[in-house]
Amino acid sequence: MNITGKARLKSPWLFHLNTGSCNGCDIEILAALTPRYDAERFGCMLVASIRHADILLLTGPVTTQMHERLLRVYEQMPEPKAVVAVGSCAVSGGVYTGSPVVDGPADKFMPVDVYVAGCPPRPEAIVKGILEALRKFR
């Protein structure tokens, strides 16, 4: 493993995109950054611009409205990149499966690297998912 690879494992910058989630997972992602769980121990940082991100945290079952926007955000992300689907609706559609306005789950039309199940997952599980996604960068 070269130096760049090692550094990548130590500084995952996150970008969070809500594609129709109920807010639960979004709040748990925020909670994962706060003192109790402190994801910044692993170098995680919630960045504001997708151009700076390494990992896309995806919540929600991807509604028709957000479908195209999700793909656009994904394309704007610089390589190497990883996608973590947080919560049952992002992973598989969850309770919203069967709705005519839901296009998801996301892995139908874009690569998803790690699935974190739970409705919503505990912040610790989200941290675990992020660290698991880092394996892709090795």
Binding site: C22, D26, R36, T63, Q65, G98
Partner: protein, 398 residues
């Protein structure tokens, strides 16, 4: 954010805030027209996360719909399921045991606390004071722990069921809640002290002023209305459940200023009220069973055709569910009116002639919950066409 549509003439810039924007946790589009950092026009566009929950509810059985309705919103999940269950119980003429009602309301109040704490954190984050955001979340975790201990889940509690609740608050838990709420109160004292800081006040005072006359015209609800001097609280005006008997254990907090600081302070004061209400309720819990002994699949079979409207004070304001059962385990119609819909109309008024710097904080101060609000779009799947229901139609529909 299509690059071709953006007007590059500097003096008049149309700034697309959202649907993907760091200060918004949920997709919503505010099309803000800016002239030299001053806002001259705002257009709010919703429906990015319209998921068709009402459509799904009409195609599932009631036992499944209880959990679907809870997932309308992750922050008012208890309020949503409480509203829905109350409507169903009215139709089926089921009286839940008294202890169940106590537990429901205690959880609803705990949820109000954590939702208000979240707002404090988000407003602090929007004005660039990350430390306060961290402190607010630190004390919020205590409340989340309590809810997890009661129901097993942090966000969606899956607590309510027709004819009672699924989890009991036993003696140990009761003592723990009282102890932990004291800790929350101490942290809250500190947070309200910080709100008096000069730089914090500077960003909040006189920002996004909503005079009570305009507030009444726009029919805003919840803390937004109470921040503008309107005495609007469903718990008081149209009491339900145990609030009927414990009206005097809490009071409505009303502030006159109508600015962001008032709206934020309302939240802090309401948390104190909620804590004292929870303590009273915990002391007076009756010793009855927590649910009627019938299985849920049997109960839903005997729910007759009927309709009911149930209104509850969610953390963000008045939340109403209209439920129309079809007599065969399912629903013919579910309609949800959430507090964010009237409140979001006030945003345009509040933002006019302010600076760009005020957009996030004004928008956060009404505590928007877009995942709730997106039930205004009705999609007719069979004909594949979308109608956006305006407020007037929505009132008629309710």
């Amino acid at each position: 954010m299509d690059a071709r549509n953006i007007d590059y003439e500097y003096s008049r810039l149309i700034l697309p805030v959202g649907p993907v924007h760091p200060s918004l946790k949920e997709p919503v589009n505010l099309s803000v027209t800016v002239v030299n950092e001053e806002i001259v026009d705002v257009n709010v566009k919703l429906n990015y996360i319209y998921r068709g929950i009402e459509y799904l509810a009409e195609r599932r059985n009631i036992a499944q719909t209880i959990y679907l309705v809870e997932r309308i919103c992750g922050l008012c999940s208890q309020a949503h399921s409480l509203t829905f269950i109350q409507a169903l119980e009215e139709i089926a003429n089921i009286q839940p045991p008294e202890r169940a009602e106590f537990i429901r309301v205690i959880c609803a109040e705990l949820e109000r606390i954590h939702s208000h704490m979240l707002l404090l954190g988000v407003v602090a984050y929007d004005i660039g004071l990350d430390t306060l955001f961290m402190y607010a979340f630190k004390s919020r975790e205590t409340v989340m722990d309590l809810l997890e201990k009661i129901s097993g889940k942090r966000v969606h509690h899956d607590l309510n069921t027709i004819g009672g609740v699924r989890f009991d608050i036993d003696e140990d838990l009761r003592r723990l809640i009282i102890k932990e709420l004291k800790y929350v109160k101490r942290n809250l004292d500190y947070i309200s002290e910080v709100l008096e800081d000069a730089t914090v006040e500077n960003r909040l005072r006189e920002v996004g002023v909503l005079p009570s006359k305009i507030a009444e015209e726009l029919s805003v609800v919840g803390p937004t209305a109470r921040g503008s001097g309107l005495t609007k609280d469903v718990r008081f005006n149209r009491s339900y459940s145990v609030y009927r008997d414990y009206k005097n254990s809490f009071k409505i907090v009303v502030l006159k200023d109508g600015d962001c600081l008032a709206r934020v302070k309302i939240r802090v004061l309401e948390v104190y009220e909620s804590i004292s209400l929870i303590e009273t309720l915990l002391d007076n819990m009756p010793d009855t069973p927590i649910r009627i002994g019938e299985r849920i699949l049997k109960i839903i079979k005997r729910i007759p055709v009927g309709e009911a409207i149930s209104i509850v004070e969610a953390p963000r304001g008045q939340l109403a569910h209209y439920v129309y059962t079809n007599g065969g385990e399912g629903l013919k119609r579910l309609s949800v009116r959430t507090p964010t819909i009237p409140n979001i109309t006030a945003v345009k008024y509040m933002l006019m002639h302010r600076q760009i710097a005020d957009i996030p904080v004004v928008f956060s101060s009404i505590d928007p919950c877009i995942s709730c609000a997106n039930r205004v779009t009705v999609t007719d799947a069979a004909k594949n066409k979308t109608i956006i229901v305006n407020l007037e139609n929505l009132r008629r529909r309710m």
